[in-house]
């Protein structure tokens, strides 16, 4: 069964049609990128899937279950992990504390009044940090970390809910180029190993063409092209309205580097 399916998602903000009849499907273990110029409706589409926005029309189903318009916390409980464009973490917690907090929430233990929260789920949290390569920094305050590392911790937080689907809004925004490809390789590795579907938006074309299995191109709220990186790259419409010359060059570069 298709893991995630969006059918006819439409959202209007005042007079602006931010998303028009957007439909796509995503399988477990697959990386699907949504790209498009600024204001194309990437984040709107994304937020309709994640529950931050309720679509005016259309349906979102997760493994056959309708999740349209559910609040984010309910979407999370259905097995959807999420990272944000600007990393959202618990600033007053340690690195491991952030992951422990996510595990406490995942286990529905947030209303317990007596046990020491920071003694709970330590091993599981450490294991998650190990997977994103942050175990060595477990006890540092998260505010001290470099931004790329914060993004990794955020990934561990998202993985704590044992998600079937990961929603990543511009996962590499604000990161140094070297960190970017390392993070995307990490995400792709985890997704394929654990059959987690990943839906992500991205501005960095290198990251997209190197790691996405399929790409969706949005322009002014509409899907103008979809397919494998090769198909999208070859699409003259995409080249014209979106990639331009530099984008095409980035695509070439990515193909050479990873081809």
């Amino acid at each position: 069964m298709t893991l995630l399916s969006a059918e006819g998602l439409t959202k209007r903000f005042g007079g602006v049609l931010a998303a028009k009849d957007v439909s796509f499907g995503l399988e477990g273990g697959e990386m699907l990128a949504i790209i498009g110029p600024n204001g194309a409706g990437k984040s709107t589409t994304f937020n309709m899937v994640g529950g931050q926005l309720r679509p005016d029309a259309g349906r979102v189903t997760l493994a056959g279950q309708d999740i349209t318009g559910m609040p984010p916390r309910a979407v999370c409980r259905m097995g959807v992990g999420r990272t944000f464009q600007v990393a959202q973490t618990f600033l007053s917690f340690s690195v491991i504390g952030n992951v422990q907090m996510a595990l406490i929430a995942h286990h529905g233990q947030t209303r317990m009044l007596l046990p020491d929260a920071m003694a709970m789920h330590q091993d599981a949290a450490l294991a998650l940090l190990e997977r994103v390569g942050m175990a060595a920094q477990a006890d540092r305050p998260i505010g001290e970390l470099a931004y790329g590392d914060v993004k990794r911790v955020e990934l561990a937080i998202a993985l704590a809910a044992a998600p079937r689907l990961l929603l990543m809004d511009e996962p590499t925004a604000g990161m140094a180029p070297a960190e970017r490809s390392a993070l995307m390789a990490l995400v792709a590795g985890i997704a394929r190993a654990e059959r987690i579907g990943v839906l992500f938006t991205e501005h960095d074309m290198d990251a997209v063409f190197a790691h996405a299995d399929r790409i969706l191109v949005l322009v002014r709220g509409e899907i103008i092209a979809r397919g494998t990186p090769e198909e999208v790259r070859a699409d003259p419409e995409v080249q014209r309205v979106y990639l331009g010359h530099s984008g095409t060059r980035a695509a070439e570069r990515a193909r050479r580097a990873h081809g």
């Binding site: 994640g50 609040p71 984010p72 916390r73 999370c76 409980r77 992990g81 999420r82 944000f84 959202q88 973490t89 618990f90 600033l91 007053s92 917690f93 504390g97 907090m101 996510a102 406490i104 929430a105 995942h106 233990q109 947030t110 209303r111 317990m112 009044l113 007596l114 046990p115 020491d116 929260a117 920071m118 709970m120 937080i157 998202a158 704590a160 809910a161």
Partner: protein, 617 residues
Amino acid sequence: MQWDFLLVQSLSGLASASSLFVIASGLTIVFGVTRIVNFAHGSFYMLGAYIAVTVVPWLLEIDRSPWLFFVGVLVSALAVGALGVLMEMLLLRRIYRVPELFQLLATFGVVLIVQDLVLLVWGPVDIPGPRAPGLRHGVVILDQRFPAYELFLIAVGPAVLGLLWLLMHRTRFGVLIRAATQDREMVGALGVNQAMLFTGTLFLGAALAGLGGALQIPRVSANSQMDLSIITEAFVVTVIGGMGSVPGAFIAALLIGQLQAFGVLIFPKITLVLVFLLMAVVLVIKPWGLLGKPEAAAGRVVLPEGILDPRPLDRAGKMLAALGLAAVLALPLLDAYAVKVGTEVLILALAAFSLNFLVGNGGIVSFGHAAYFGLGAYGAGLLVVKAGLPMEPALLAAPIAGGAFAALFGFFVVRLSGIYLAMLTLAFAQIAYAVVFQWVEVTGGDNGLVGVWPSRWAASREVYHYLVAAVTVAAIILLRRVIHAPFGATLRAARDSAQRADAIGVDVRTHRWLGFTLAGAAAGLAGGLYAFSKGSIDPTLLGIPMSVDFLSMLLLGGIQSVLGPVAGTAAFHAAKDFFMPLTDHWRLFLGLSIIAMVLVFPRGLAGAWDTLRRRRA
């Protein structure tokens, strides 16, 4: 009921709406630009009235012309505007970037200072003002006489609205004010002289408050309670209208004026409650007020001063805590007075601790925590005095009363955040205060009730002290445990990032509601204990000054430390107990201390202790 009567009622509603708008417009403009909710706005209003009752009669002695009356009113407004400039330059520009709680407290410090200065300059007796020459007669409307001055006031509101509109749309200063209200950072990035803009805004805001006060002198005598009574109303108007929105304030003032004018006919005793209910309803439907914008309150930087750090106690900390506990237990060896103070410190420490559970741990800045303390006290006291129950069941009822009201009010409160949340907690506390104050048959009104004594076995000061010690220490240890437990951690997580908490599956609003209820119950328990220690209850237990005392204890102790508030309470209450009998100017002293703490000592005693320890290590 006749039409002419309804018309006159409605006209007097318009007159008060007009006055209220003039004052509230200043508050909302200042908030829009500086993002500071200025408690001292009510003080500016009061100063406007006092200056006017001094200046206007002096001018009228020269010539009893209507013109000189209004010259006097304008001079008073301008003088108050100058005081606003002074406040901006001396205080506000140092606190634009500190957490909201500190801003509120600092401007409340100014309220306290002005209260004492007014007493010093003008004395404690109310001063009646002269009536306006030329507007002393009544106008007959449909067979009813209506004061001409009130008619004049009705015109003032729309006139001020019109002038403000011209100012905002036709002058560079006004355009900058509007721009800064929408996006302060962008205005800064465009190279606008922010210092001048902010100072000018404070001048305008304070002058409007002063104008409002000066215009009141033919209607009410200048008195020293004007500041707090008007500031809560002005808060309500700005919150309903949307903070930062002048037209919103105008609509809200009209609504409230009519609600008060007709509410008096239907529910003469609970007009205040009606006003606050209107506010609660508006905030639930439109969380940013009628014409407000969400970003006005959202997205602030949380500075470390506002963040609770739940480190477990180190060795020295544990020793200090043990020492404190030993001192509490040994107090009865000293004199009876020390026992009394010690008992009060323990009780207030529980209240302050429960407040920090909200403020420090949950990021829920409650400006009305005394409500739950006071309602707990009344819950217990009424059971003893009116129902004849003994102390034990009454003490059980206290946390239930505090918790039940916290659950009721909290249901609305947790829908908001930041400054709106603080305003709503304040409003609910004022509702509770008004009900307790006005429902004389049950609560004894202003005088309160006496005869709330402990059971016989606990009647001696010493035994009661140990009872209080056992209950409060147990409650504080329990609450501290909750802070470290998943529930407390979840509240902290939601404070750090509500978005992230939501995305990991936490129902933020429900958790905050439960936290608010728990803190209310703890405060209620403290209130019950307090009632039995005093033997009486009265409305001051629920008042704003009590809430501010609790917040000052947090501030003094150090808001980011788990046990800091306990130390803060001990220091604050001991200092208050020692200094208050020695000076007539306790409020001046307290106000200056609060401001000094915010400016130079924001991490409180716990911060000082930390620094000391680190220096030695």
